[in-house]
Every structure is written in structure tokens, then in C-alpha cells.
Amino acid sequence: MSKFAKKKSGELPAVSTASLPDIVFMLLFFFMTVTVMKNSDVKVENVLPNASEIKKLEKKDRVITIYVGAPTREFQKVFGTESKIQLNDKFADASDVGDYILMERAKKPQELQNVLTTSLKVDKNANMGLIADIKQELRKVNALKVNYTTYEGDAFNNLK
């Protein structure tokens, strides 16, 4: 009866790893598609304040970002320690903000041009004077929707 002899059941069959590359590739493609490479270095100190009553900024293609803060250490020799505005990757004056907004707005598709939000990423130690100048410029170009971008947290931490 050697035909029906039982197979020896001493060792477990090895788990096939042939589909492992497929799984890994799937994950790889997922992360490749969701990765957004940062297109501009932040050249200013940018510790945002905390706030609790925040709303999320969905739809990244409708956002124009302006950074404000004191230049980081490597730029302090050239630009000093006073708060500066950073547009794209250049330092700028408040008077350039209007042009920048108009330029960015022109780059967006027609149907989005009226629904853009300006995200102000301002260091918590910056002075309001500069922000007031920016707000004035934004009003001049009719970019009235602003979002004071913050971290989520207790707002009273800002005072420490």
C-alpha cells in the first residue's frame, strides 16, 4: 500500500513569501502618491500660537501661505532679528504682499480664484504692527478670507 502511504507530517510547510513584493509595492505607491515634497524652506522662526476654536483648512489647492517671523540664525546677519515676511522663499516687505497674492491668484484655475484663503503662519512673538500692514494689503487686493493658522492646544499657553 505504498500508494496511499501518509506523507510525513513532521515539519510545517513554509509560508509563501512570493506575494510580499506586491504588498510592499502597494504600500509604496500609496505613500508615493500622498507625499508632498515641501517646495519652500521656511527661513523664519515659525512657532505658531495655540488655539482651541480652530477649523481645518481642507483643500490645499485653495490656500496661499504667508510666513512671518524673525529670520532664522543663518539669515540674521543679513536680515537682522526683526520680524520679516516670507513669500515663497524670499524675504519681502509688507508692500509686496498684494502683488504676491495677485500673482498666486492668477496661477490658480479660474473657478478657484474667488474662493482662495490666505493662511497666515505667524510666529507667536511677532508684533501685530506687521500683521496689521499685511491685513491692510490683503484688503487692498480683496483677499478677505484669512486663516490665522495655529496649532491645536490651549490658547492660554501663548501668554507664557
Partner: protein, 205 residues
């Protein structure tokens, strides 16, 4: 020598390793983050054609000076008391026309009703941005607290939760439609009239 059947097969055993390497690279560089913050509307630059006369008592004046001190309606207050102060002002219900105000003191020298109440925020040029955001946060919080309460009463759901569901992209259009109606209803009950006047320059320093 007989000819071999075909080209020799390439060993694909190390493909997984290469893929892993790439995977780890992208894992490390990915930041899945959505920015969040306080949404505000700036006033349009051209002044309204008709001058609107607003009664003094309907304005809640908040002033921040360069040291971060707070002056609300003429008295010096602590930042943590601002929210309750603002809520009391909004809900004052001086003319008795607001039937959903719960703790209205009906003080004749404070606001008539929530739809008329205006909060005006002024700050110095040397005010710290952090302080300004805290004040903004408290004022928006005062509105949100009141709206949440009414929303809880009418729809058994906080207003802020409805709003965040509304702006989410994944929410289906039919749900959005329904939410929008509720949101506008609540917004009409407590319209957010938060005016940001132009900053004053610090005098005398």
C-alpha cells in the same frame, strides 16, 4: 552542446528588499497634515455707502495694549474672564426680543439682542501676535459656546461638530444640504459680528 530552452531567469528575490527601502524612504518623508486655524473675514476696503448708526451699548469694545493687558468695555479684565464677559454681553437681551437667550440680564446699558451685538477688537502695533490670537480665540469661543448650546437644544448636536462635518470633503452632498440649513439657522441666531478695527499706533512711547 544543445541549445538552452530560453534566456535564464532573473532572480527577483531581492525585489522586496529594494521596494522596502523605497517604502521606508517615503514613510519617513511623508507628513500627512492638514493645517488648522482661526478663520476670519477682513472688512472690505471701501466703506459702506450708507453710514449705519450703531448704538453705543450694542458695541463691546475690546482693547489690547502693548503689554498684553485687556480693556473690555472700559474696565481692565483678565484674559480668562473675557469669554464669560463676551457671552454675557451677547446674551444680554436688553429689548426682550430674544426668546432663546437663557441667562440674559436685560441690562439696559448692554446689548439689545444677539443679532445687534457687535464685538469690536482693537490692538496696539506692539501687541504680541500670541496674545492677539488668544483674545481672538476667546471671542470666537464665546460665539461657539452659545451656538453649541442652541444647536444642542434644537438638533441634539453641537454646532462646531456640524460645521466641521460640513467642510469635510468626504461628506455626501445630501448630508451637506441638510447641514447647511441647520448651520445657517444657528448662525442667524448668533451672527458673528466681530469687527477688527485698524490698529492704533502706540502713543507716547
Amino acid at each position: 552542446m544543445p541549445r538552452r530552452a530560453g534566456a535564464p531567469e532573473v532572480n527577483a528575490g531581492s525585489m522586496a528588499d529594494i521596494a522596502f527601502l523605497l517604502l521606508i524612504f517615503f514613510l519617513v518623508t511623508t507628513t500627512i497634515e492638514t493645517d488648522a486655524g482661526l478663520d476670519r473675514m477682513l472688512p472690505p476696503i471701501e466703506p459702506p455707502e450708507t453710514d449705519v448708526v450703531i448704538k453705543e451699548k450694542n458695541i463691546f469694545q475690546v482693547n489690547i495694549n502693548k503689554n498684553g493687558q485687556l480693556l473690555a468695555d472700559g474696565e481692565l479684565i483678565e484674559l480668562k474672564d473675557l469669554r464669560t464677559k463676551a457671552m454675557a454681553f451677547l446674551e444680554n437681551n436688553g429689548d426682550g426680543s430674544c426668546n432663546y437667550c437663557q441667562s440674559g440680564k436685560k441690562d439696559p446699558s448692554s446689548s439689545d439682542n444677539p443679532t445687534k451685538a457687535i464685538i469690536s477688537l482693537k490692538n496696539d502695533r506692539e501687541t504680541k501676535y500670541g496674545t492677539y490670537i488668544t483674545v481672538q480665540n476667546e471671542l470666537v469661543g464665546a460665539y461657539n459656546d452659545l451656538r453649541d448650546r442652541e444647536s444642542e437644544r434644537l438638533y441634539k448636536r453641537p454646532f462646531t461638530a456640524m460645521e466641521s462635518e460640513y467642510i469635510k470633503q468626504e461628506t455626501p452632498a445630501s448630508v451637506k444640504e441638510e447641514l447647511k440649513e441647520k448651520i445657517t439657522k444657528i448662525q442667524e441666531m448668533f451672527p458673528q459680528k466681530l469687527s477688527e478695527a485698524e490698529t492704533s499706533s502706540s502713543g507716547g512711547s
